[in-house]
């Protein structure tokens, strides 16, 4: 099965993956500082894990990293779809396969022998986080330019609802990252492959 001459991850994927990780870390940390300026829940985010120092600084980070996320994300999606990799790597996908692989994973019986191949749980998680990132960008666009994008604004339920959508999409992304990092820790070989390509 395993063909050692084939790179597990092409260079463009590794580049976009790490640029994305950088953008997401900056956006999340500066976003938390922006949230703290007018929190709509009972809690604020501890200052120590926020970026920017004050609201103006946090906004500068946020509105710089947003370009990196959007441009890099677009490059990833275009390369992924354009090369046919998206279809090849993430499909077919069925709810039954997700449940089966999830149960196998919980019993410790999921094989990681071939890193060329994503199991159904990985496929689902990666596809969901792609959709979530698109939702983050679109809701962010409504918060930034609510007057200039009326259709998007109304689709997301207006400015105030878009704020919540943006927050929950962030929370989902952070939850993904937590699980993602835990999985990488369980199978460290995947990290080597994501850095070196094989």
């Amino acid at each position: 099965m395993t063909d050692d001459t084939r790179p597990i991850h092409p260079a463009w994927l590794r580049a976009t993956h790490w640029l994305n990780a950088l953008a997401v870390v900056i956006l999340a940390m500066s976003g938390w500082r922006i949230y703290n300026a007018a929190p709509f829940f009972d809690f604020t985010i501890p200052r120590e894990i926020t970026l920017g120092g004050w609201l103006g600084g946090a906004i500068q980070w946020h509105f710089a990293a947003m370009w990196l996320l959007a441009a890099n994300g677009l490059a990833y999606l275009l390369c992924n779809a354009g090369t046919g990799r998206l279809l090849r790597k993430f499909f077919p996908l069925s709810p039954r396969a997700i449940v089966a692989d999830l149960l196998a994973a919980l019993r410790g019986r999921l094989s990681h022998a071939d890193l060329h191949h994503y199991n159904a749980v990985q496929r689902a998680a990666y596809l969901l986080v792609m959709v979530d990132a698109v939702l983050l960008v679109l809701s962010g666009l409504v918060l930034w330019k609510s007057v200039q994008f009326p259709l998007l604004r109304e689709l997301l339920g207006g400015y105030e609802t878009a704020r919540r959508v943006h927050f929950f999409a962030m929370a989902a992304l952070v939850a993904f990252i937590a699980v993602h990092l835990a999985m990488v820790a369980v199978v460290p070989r995947t990290l080597v492959a994501m850095i070196r390509g094989r």
Binding site: M29, A37, G53, G56, Q60, F63, A64, V147
Partner: protein, 258 residues
């Protein structure tokens, strides 16, 4: 008819860059940023001092200028902000300024004069009754604060484009600047100044504008964030020289549009 030029900001890229450099050089705001921007996170991100903090600041300011340009380009002079029924007005409408409620400026109505300077034909100073005699309109719109919160209010006054044409403003100029009696100052792009919902407001919710909302007048733009909407306006000037703003000089984005 006033001709609007929404692409102005996008076209003049060179001038924008020059201004950005000039502003970065300003010692006062450099100090401010050094104190503020670098704390809380940058060192976390960079390990220790691997990332040169000063060049990070330069880069962030340059991106902020780039974002001004993009916003000037995205701004559609015909795109209206949503309006709301009066039943949706936020009560009480929040007070917000760079100082507390106990420091709200009291402006004397009788001695008040609005000065108009710069690239305008008619520089006579306006009394309050003169301004009140101009045709008025009102609108219920959402005020969005840079902090993220928003509130709906009802403002009434003179469409700013009418006022600009009355004073013979050169609408091919790039900026309209404002100086206020609470020492606040800010400036906006000409396309936004000419936007149909940009109002030189004299009233709030049917009453003369109370001191907490900026007596005797506030420029209300539902297409811009709160800090771009000056209160207690004393001087309006039309210029091609970038006038900056109280918050903008400290790092808030200049265009500040929504």
């Amino acid at each position: 008819m006033i001709k609007t030029s929404p692409r102005r900001l996008a076209i003049d890229g060179d001038a924008v860059v020059k201004e950005a450099l000039r502003r970065i050089e300003q010692p006062s705001r450099r100090l401010f940023l050094q104190r503020s921007l670098t704390l809380g996170g940058l060192s976390l991100l960079s390990g220790c001092a691997i990332v040169d903090e000063e060049s990070a600041e330069h880069a962030l300011m340059a991106v902020s200028r780039f974002n001004d340009t993009v916003q000037g380009w995205l701004f559609d002079p015909r795109q209206l902000a949503p309006t709301y029924p009066e039943s949706m007005i936020t009560r009480p409408f929040p007070f917000n300024a760079y100082y507390g409620e106990d420091e709200i400026r009291q402006v004397d109505a009788d001695s008040f004069r609005l000065e108009v300077t710069g690239m305008v034909a008619d520089k006579h100073a306006w009394t309050l009754p003169e301004l009140q005699a101009l045709p008025q309109t009102d609108q219920v719109t959402r005020h969005i604060c840079v902090e993220g919160w928003s509130a709906i209010g009802k403002w009434g006054g003179v469409p700013f484009s009418n006022f600009l044409s009355r004073i013979g403003a050169d609408t091919s100029a790039r900026y309209v600047g404002f100086k206020c009696s609470d020492d606040y100052y800010t400036s906006i792009d000409m396309p936004t100044a000419l936007h149909p919902q940009t109002l030189l407001t004299l009233s709030y919710d049917g009453q003369p504008l109370p001191p907490r909302y900026g007596f005797p007048m506030k420029l209300r733009m539902p297409t811009k964030l709160g800090y771009k909407n000056p209160k207690h306006i004393q001087v309006i000037f039309v210029t091609n020289t970038y006038p900056g703003g109280y918050w903008e000089d400290q790092g808030y984005n200049w265009f500040g549009g929504s």
